[in-house]
């Protein structure tokens, strides 16, 4: 063993310690994020071939009449900044691959909300040749909002139930 080998072993050990330190910081940040996401989730919205009824209601729920900013919720400029992905529309086959890519591009702790009857399993378009039948087949969904279209305040309430900020009675917590 010559001089160069022992030096590289020492550098290698410090390198491993540095990596372990950084990954433990990453775990701490992730745990903190999953607690803090309750207080200011940013929404990313994606329309996979809808009639635009549910889109209008999603955008109406962002307006000051229903004021989501009192809960810290706002519409984010891109998917990379978003925490909750709102999916509307019957998921067509062409949009399904893009939806999968968008979901994988979202960093960190993320949730998915499927709005409307179409995003659940295709709604009135069940069995058609150009749809792949609901967002649940492509990405894991966390909450559903039924209706065609659902009321805007109901979409806001679904976000709050998801984040455990809304007290629901035990009989109503489905």
């Amino acid at each position: 063993m010559c001089m160069g080998d022992s030096a590289s072993i020492i550098y290698y050990r410090w390198f491993q310690r540095g990596k372990a330190f950084i990954s433990s910081i990453a775990v701490v940040i992730r745990v903190l994020m999953s607690k803090l996401i309750r207080y200011s989730p940013w929404l990313a919205h994606f329309n996979t071939g809808a009639c635009n009824g549910c889109d209008i209601e999603v955008l109406a729920s962002i307006t000051p009449i229903y004021d989501p900013e009192r809960y810290g919720v706002k519409l984010s400029p891109s998917v990379r900044h978003g925490d909750i992905l709102i999916v509307t529309g019957v998921v067509t086959k062409k949009a399904a691959e893009r939806l999968r890519r968008l979901y994988e591009q979202m960093p960190g702790v993320k949730y998915v909300v499927a709005v409307g009857a179409c995003a659940y399993d295709g709604g009135v378009f069940k069995g058609s040749y150009s749809i792949s039948g609901g967002a649940g087949k492509v990405i894991p969904v966390d909450a559903y909002v039924p209706g065609c279209p659902p009321r805007p305040e109901e979409i806001l309430r679904a976000l709050l139930i998801l984040l455990n900020r809304e007290r629901v009675k035990e009989s109503e917590r489905h």
Binding site: P64, Y66, V124, V145, P150, I155, L162
Partner: protein, 124 residues
């Protein structure tokens, strides 16, 4: 100067926000909300399941101990609300008016919601 007047007026008036989960949103009485079948009138004809445009009504067999004279087939409808578009065609086509309609629209949830519990409660 009228813009200053508008600004002052808006500054001193109440905000227009409806603080939704804490205060109710005003809603009309005949809003098409959660509906379910009343077993004291349902005859099990399955017309509602045939009529539904999104095929979300499945017919289920009545529990063993309930023998109803007006329901010889022993079937009742179970509505899957997640897929329902609330068009109320089932309510209109029923020949014996067996659907109970409400204006309850607060159905968003983490799991799936069916009408089975409410329907079986009408038995008694």
């Amino acid at each position: 100067m009228s813009i200053v007047r508008e600004a002052l007026k808006n500054l001193l008036s109440k905000p227009a926000t409806i603080e939704y989960p804490k205060k109710p949103v005003p809603i009309e009485k005949d809003f098409r909300g959660r509906h379910y079948a009343d077993l004291r009138k349902c005859t099990g004809c399955t017309l509602c399941a045939i009529e539904c445009p999104s095929n979300c009504i499945t017919m289920e067999k009545l529990p063993e101990n309930a023998k109803l004279k007006h329901n010889p087939r022993g079937l009742y409808p179970n509505i899957r609300y997640m897929s329902c578009v609330f068009c109320y065609r089932c309510v209109r086509v029923c020949p014996v008016d067996a659907y109970v309609t409400t204006n309850e629209y607060r159905l968003s949830s983490v799991k799936e919601v069916f009408s089975k519990e409410l329907t079986l409660q009408t038995l008694g």
